[in-house]
C-alpha cells in the first residue's frame, strides 16, 4: 500500500459549498466538501448522478455557470494558490495549461464543425507561441501517443468520422496538449463507451499519468472503474462526502451504508452480497432544494436511526487513511 | 388502458397547467392586456367616442393632436383620428380572427388527414404545400385578392388561404409525433374508429403548437390586411381600416405627422400584443424551450 500521507499534495479543497439559485429556491449541490489530491495519484470521486461530483470538478476549473451557480465558501488550493481568488484571466490561463478536463460524452464533447487536428492544435497555440504548422505537427505526435492509428490522416477528420473510443482518445490528446499537465479531471470518461473500449481508455489514462507524472481526478459512478484505476476514493452522496479511503481499505472494509450499497450493485461481487442487503439501493436521491441538515442518506438507509435527521455526522476515523461520516456505525455487521 | 387514459389526462392537464403558468409570464400578461384593451375598444366603439368615424368636416381638417377635443387630431377630411382608430380595431380584429379561422379549419383538416393517412395522399399534400410555400407569402395574398377583386372580404379570404400551408405543416408534424404514442395503438386495438382516433384522441393532444401558431397568425393576418389595404387591395374608403388610413396619409408626411403615425401605432400595438402572447404560450407549452 502506498503511503499517501507522505506524498506531496497537488490540490486540496477546503470546506467548499456550492449552490444554485433557481426560481424554485436554492439547490445545495456541494456542502462542506474537503478533499485532496496528491501528486501522481488518481483520486476517484464516486456517487450517483446528481450527487455533486461534476459540480465539484467544475468548481476546480471554474466552469460553474454563474448565475445561477454560487460558490458560497471554501478554498481550492492548487500549487499553493487559492483558485477561487483568481481573476478571470488567471483562471483562463490555468485551464488547459495545468488543469485539463475530459468529459463523459465523446460524441458531443468535440466541436462538430471543426477538424480534430485543428481543435487540438488550437490548444497548443493558445498556450504556446508556436505556428499553426508546428502545432499541427505536435498534434500528430500526441495522437500517436494516445494510439490513434494513421494520425496524419485523422487530423483532417471531423468528429463524426471517428468512433466513440477514438473520439475519447482525441479528447485525451487535447487534454495532454497543455504545456504542463498537472491535473486531469476525467468526468465519467468511459461511461458512454463499450466495455472493451472502456478498459483500453482506462489503461491509456493510467499509462499517460505515469509518463507525464500528472494527477487524475476521476469522476465515476462505477465501482469497477474505481477498483481498476484509483489510488484513493471519495464517496459522495447528495452533495456530501460520506466516506473517504485509500482504494484498498475501501474495498476491504467499506463502512458507510451507501458505499456498501454501491458495492452491492457491482454485478460480480459476491463478497458484499448477503441476505439482508438488497442488490439495488431503494428509493431515490433526496431533493436538493428541500434537503435539511441531517444525513442525506437517511431516507434510503437500512441502518438509519433517530439521530440521522438532526445533524450531519462527525468524521469517524477507521484507519490511517480511512474516514467515514455516519451516526450508526455500530449497527453495521462486519462485512467480512 | 388505464395507463393510456392517464397519459391523455396528463397531457390535458399539462395544457391547463401551462395556461396557469402563463400567469407568471410577464410578456404574455402584457400581450393579453393589450389584446383585451383592443377587444373592449372594438365592442364598445360607439360608446367610447362622441364622434362618427366617417362624418367629414372640412373646416377642422388636419387639426393637430392634443389641442382640441379631437385628442389625436383629425385627418385630411376632418374626421376624428382617434374615433377612426377605435372603429378600426373592429375591422382588424375581425379580419384577424376570420382569416385565421379559415386557415385553421382547412389547415387542421388537411394536416390531420395528411399526417394520419400518410402514403400517396400525404405525398401529394406535401408537394402542394412546398409549391405554395415557394411563393413569397404577401405576393400570394396579393395575387389572390387581385384575382378575386379588391375588397375587405376577399382580403380575409386571401390571407386565410395563403396561411393554410403553414398550418398544415404544424398540424401534420404534431400528428406524426403523436401517432406513434402508445395510447393511439392501444385505442386502435380496442376498436376505435379512424375518425374517433383522429378527432378525439390525436387532435386534442396536438392543440399546443396549433394554439401558438394561431395566436401568431392573428397578428400576421392583421399586418397583412393592413398591407393589402395600403396597396388598395383590401378595405375601400371610407372604411376606417388602419392600413387604408396609413395609405391615404402618405401625402401628408410633410405636413401632418399624426395622420401617418397613429394608425400605424394601432397596428403595431395590436400585433405586438398577439406576438407577446404567442411568445409566452410557446414558452410554457414547448417543454424544449423551458430551461
Amino acid at each position: 500500500m502506498k503511503d499517501t500521507n507522505t506524498r506531496e499534495t497537488l490540490l486540496s479543497m477546503e470546506n467548499v459549498n456550492v449552490s444554485f439559485k433557481t426560481h424554485r429556491g436554492t439547490v445545495r449541490a456541494v456542502r462542506n466538501l474537503n478533499l485532496k489530491i496528491n501528486k501522481g495519484d488518481t483520486l476517484a470521486l464516486v456517487g450517483e448522478s446528481g450527487c455533486g461530483k461534476s459540480v465539484t470538478a467544475h468548481t476546480i476549473n471554474q466552469l460553474i455557470p454563474m448565475p445561477p451557480g454560487v460558490i458560497e465558501s471554501g478554498k481550492v488550493i492548487f500549487e499553493g494558490r487559492d483558485l477561487l481568488k483568481l481573476n478571470i484571466k488567471e483562471v483562463a490561463k490555468l485551464r488547459g495549461e495545468k488543469i485539463s478536463m475530459i468529459f463523459q460524452e465523446p460524441m458531443t464533447s468535440l466541436n462538430p464543425v471543426f477538424k480534430i487536428g485543428d481543435q487540438i492544435a488550437e490548444v497548443f497555440m493558445t498556450h504556446r507561441q508556436i505556428s499553426r504548422k508546428e502545432a499541427l505537427k505536435r498534434t500528430v505526435d500526441l495522437l500517436n501517443l494516445v494510439k490513434i492509428p494513421a494520425a496524419e490522416k485523422r487530423i483532417n477528420d471531423y468528429p463524426h468520422q471517428l468512433s466513440g473510443g477514438m473520439r475519447q482518445r482525441a479528447m485525451i490528446a487535447m487534454a495532454l496538449a497543455s504545456p504542463e499537465p498537472g491535473l486531469l479531471i476525467a468526468d465519467e470518461p468511459t461511461t458512454a463507451l463499450d466495455v472493451t473500449i472502456q478498459a483500453q481508455i482506462l489503461r491509456l489514462i493510467s499509462d499517460l499519468k505515469k509518463d507525464v507524472n500528472m494527477s487524475v481526478l476521476l469522476i465515476t459512478h462505477d465501482m469497477g472503474v474505481v477498483a481498476e484505476t484509483a489510488d484513493r476514493v471519495v464517496v459522495m452522496y447528495a452533495g456530501r462526502k460520506v466516506e473517504e479511503a485509500d482504494v484498498y481499505s475501501l474495498f476491504d472494509n467499506p463502512k458507510h451504508p451507501y458505499t456498501l450499497g454501491l458495492l452491492n450493485s457491482l454485478p460480480s461481487n459476491e463478497k458484499y452480497h448477503n441476505a439482508e442487503r438488497l442488490e439495488a439501493i431503494k428509493g431515490t436521491i433526496p431533493d436538493l432544494l428541500t434537503i435539511g441538515d441531517g444525513c442525506p442518506f437517511e431516507n434510503r438507509c437500512p441502518d438509519a436511526g433517530p439521530k440521522c435527521s438532526g445533524t450531519f455526522p462527525e468524521e469517524t476515523k477507521i484507519g490511517e487513511d480511512h474516514s467515514v461520516w455516519c451516526h450508526y456505525l455500530e449497527n453495521q455487521e462486519p462485512s467480512k | 388502458m388505464e395507463n393510456t387514459e392517464q397519459n391523455k389526462l396528463e397531457k390535458n392537464s399539462l395544457l391547463k397547467e401551462a395556461l396557469f403558468q402563463l400567469k407568471g409570464n410577464k410578456p404574455a400578461i402584457i400581450g393579453f392586456i393589450i389584446i383585451a384593451a383592443f377587444i373592449i375598444m372594438a365592442i364598445f366603439a360607439p360608446y367610447l367616442t362622441p364622434f362618427s368615424p366617417t362624418d367629414q368636416d372640412i373646416s377642422i381638417r388636419k387639426t393637430a393632436p392634443f389641442v382640441t377635443e379631437h385628442l389625436l387630431g383629425t385627418d385630411d377630411l376632418g374626421r376624428d383620428l382617434l374615433t377612426r382608430i377605435i372603429f378600426g380595431s373592429r375591422i382588424s380584429l375581425i379580419i384577424g380572427t376570420i382569416s385565421v379561422g379559415i386557415s385553421l379549419t382547412f389547415g387542421i383538416l388537411i394536416g390531420l388527414l395528411s399526417g394520419y393517412i400518410g402514403g400517396w395522399f400525404d405525398n401529394i399534400v406535401q408537394r402542394l404545400v412546398d409549391i405554395m410555400l415557394a411563393f413569397p407569402y404577401i405576393l400570394l395574398t396579393i395575387v389572390i385578392v387581385a384575382l378575386l377583386g379588391p375588397s375587405l372580404v376577399n382580403a380575409m379570404i386571401a390571407i386565410g388561404i395563403s396561411q393554410i400551408p403553414s398550418y398544415i405543416r404544424v398540424v401534420r408534424a404534431s400528428v406524426l409525433a403523436e401517432k406513434e404514442n402508445d395510447y393511439v395503438t392501444a385505442e386502435r386495438s380496442l376498436g376505435a374508429s379512424d375518425r374517433e382516433l383522429m378527432f378525439k384522441s390525436i387532435l386534442p393532444n396536438c392543440i399546443a403548437p396549433i394554439f401558438v401558431q394561431a395566436t401568431l397568425g392573428i397578428g400576421n393576418a392583421i399586418l397583412s390586411s393592413a398591407a393589402l389595404s395600403f396597396l388598395g387591395l383590401g378595405a375601400q374608403p371610407p372604411t376606417p381600416e388602419w392600413g387604408l388610413m396609413i395609405a391615404s396619409s402618405r401625402e401628408f408626411v410633410t405636413s401632418a405627422w399624426w395622420i401617418v403615425t397613429f394608425p400605424g401605432i394601432a397596428v403595431f400595438l395590436t400585433v405586438l400584443g398577439f406576438n407577446l402572447l404567442a411568445d409566452g404560450l410557446r414558452d410554457v407549452l414547448d417543454p424544449r424551450m423551458k430551461s
Partner: protein
C-alpha cells in the same frame, strides 16, 4: 458534395413546374373574363373577342396550358398588355433594382441581427438582452410600409438626411452598367474618378434597405440568440473552455459557427419575406424595382405581366433557398462529407 447539389437541383424542378402550373391555373380559373377585365366595361364585344383570340383564350384550357408551358420553357413570358413590350424584357429592366435593394437589406439585417443575437445570448437576462429582444419583438410587429413612412418623416422630412425616394440623384446622367447602382458607382469611380454616382446610390439605399431589413433583422436576432444559447450549453463548449481557449474565441469561432446552421436556414426564408416586402417598400420609396412593377401590373390587370413576374420572383426565391441549402452543407461537415 456535387452529388448533393445535383440531387437538390433535381428536387427543384418539380417545385418550379408546380409553381408555373399553379400560377397558370390561378389566373385561368379566376372569376371573370380576363380579356373583358383588361379592356374595361366599355369595350366592344368584337374587340374583346379579338383579344381573347390574341391571347389564345378561345382555345380549350388544356391547350392553353400546353402552349403556355412551351413558351415558359423557352423563357418567353409573353407581351405586356399595358406596354406591349416583352414581359421578360420589362422584368430584366426592373430586376436589378430589386436585387440591389434586397441584397443590401439582407446584409444589413444579417450583420446587425447576428451581432445583436450573440450579444444577447452571451449576456443572457442582462439589460442588453432585455432591450434587444424587446426591440426585436417590436420589429416583427411593425407594418413595413408604415415604418418606411415614419423613416421618411423623420430622416428625410425632419432631418433632411436622406432622399425620400428614387435610386439616384436625377441630375446625374449615367448609363447603368450592371443595373446595380452601387456597383456601377464603383465601376464609374475606377473609370473616371467620379465618386458622386456611388455616393448618391448609397445615399438613396439607406432608408429603403433599413425599412425592408427591419423585420428580417428582428427574426435573425431572435434565432441567433436562441441558437447561441443552445450551442453554449453543449459539451464541446465546455471542452473548449476547459482547454483554456479564450472566451472571445469560444464564442465567435467555436460557438457561432455551430449556431450558424439554423441561422442560415432562417436567412434563406427571409428572402421570401424580403421579396414580398419589396412590393411595399418599393411603392413607398418610389423604387423602380420588380415589386413596384408587379404591383402596377396587378392594378392594371396585366395578366401576362403578373404571371411572368410571379414566376420570376418565386423562381428566385426557390433558387436562393437552394443556394442557402448548399451554404448550409458547406458549414455542416456532416452533410458535406456524406
Amino acid at each position: 458534395m456535387l452529388k448533393y447539389i445535383l440531387k437538390r437541383l433535381a428536387l427543384l424542378l418539380p417545385t418550379l413546374f408546380g409553381v408555373i402550373t399553379l400560377v397558370f391555373f390561378m389566373i385561368a380559373l379566376a372569376p371573370g373574363d380576363p380579356a373583358r377585365v383588361m379592356l374595361g366595361e366599355r369595350a366592344t364585344a368584337d374587340s374583346v373577342e379579338q383579344l381573347r383570340h390574341d391571347l389564345g383564350l378561345d382555345k380549350p384550357l388544356y391547350v392553353q396550358y400546353g402552349l403556355y408551358l412551351q413558351r415558359v420553357v423557352k423563357l418567353d413570358l409573353g407581351k405586356s398588355i399595358k406596354s406591349g413590350q416583352k414581359v421578360s424584357e420589362e422584368i430584366w429592366d426592373h430586376f436589378p433594382a430589386t436585387i440591389e435593394l434586397t441584397i443590401w437589406a439582407m446584409i444589413f439585417s444579417t450583420v446587425v441581427g447576428i451581432i445583436i443575437g450573440v450579444l444577447s445570448a452571451t449576456r443572457k437576462n442582462g439589460w442588453i438582452d432585455f432591450a434587444s429582444m424587446g426591440g426585436a419583438l417590436m420589429g416583427v410587429s411593425m407594418p413595413v410600409f408604415w415604418l418606411a413612412l415614419v423613416l421618411i418623416m423623420i430622416f428625410s422630412v425632419k432631418l433632411d438626411m436622406f432622399p425620400t425616394g428614387g435610386r439616384m440623384n436625377i441630375r446625374y446622367y449615367f448609363t447603368p452598367i450592371t443595373g446595380l447602382y452601387v456597383l456601377d458607382g464603383i465601376l464609374i469611380f475606377f473609370k473616371s474618378g467620379d465618386i458622386k454616382v456611388f455616393i448618391s446610390a448609397l445615399h438613396h439605399l439607406v432608408l429603403p434597405a433599413v425599412a425592408l431589413g427591419t423585420i428580417p433583422l428582428a427574426i435573425i436576432a431572435r434565432i441567433t440568440r436562441s441558437s447561441m444559447l443552445e450551442v453554449l450549453n453543449q459539451d464541446y463548449i465546455k471542452t473548449a473552455r476547459s482547454a483554456g481557449i479564450k472566451e472571445s474565441k469560444v464564442i465567435y469561432r467555436y460557438a457561432l459557427k455551430n449556431a450558424l446552421l439554423p441561422i442560415i436556414t432562417v436567412i434563406g426564408l427571409q428572402f421570401g419575406l424580403l421579396l414580398s416586402g419589396a412590393i411595399l417598400t418599393e411603392t413607398v420609396f418610389a423604387w423602380p424595382g420588380i415589386g413596384k412593377w408587379i404591383y402596377h401590373a396587378i392594378e392594371a390587370r396585366d395578366y401576362p405581366a403578373v404571371q411572368g413576374g410571379i414566376i420570376v420572383i418565386s423562381t428566385t426565391f426557390v433558387l436562393i433557398n437552394l443556394v442557402v441549402d448548399i451554404l448550409y452543407s458547406i458549414v455542416n461537415p456532416k452533410i458535406r462529407l456524406s
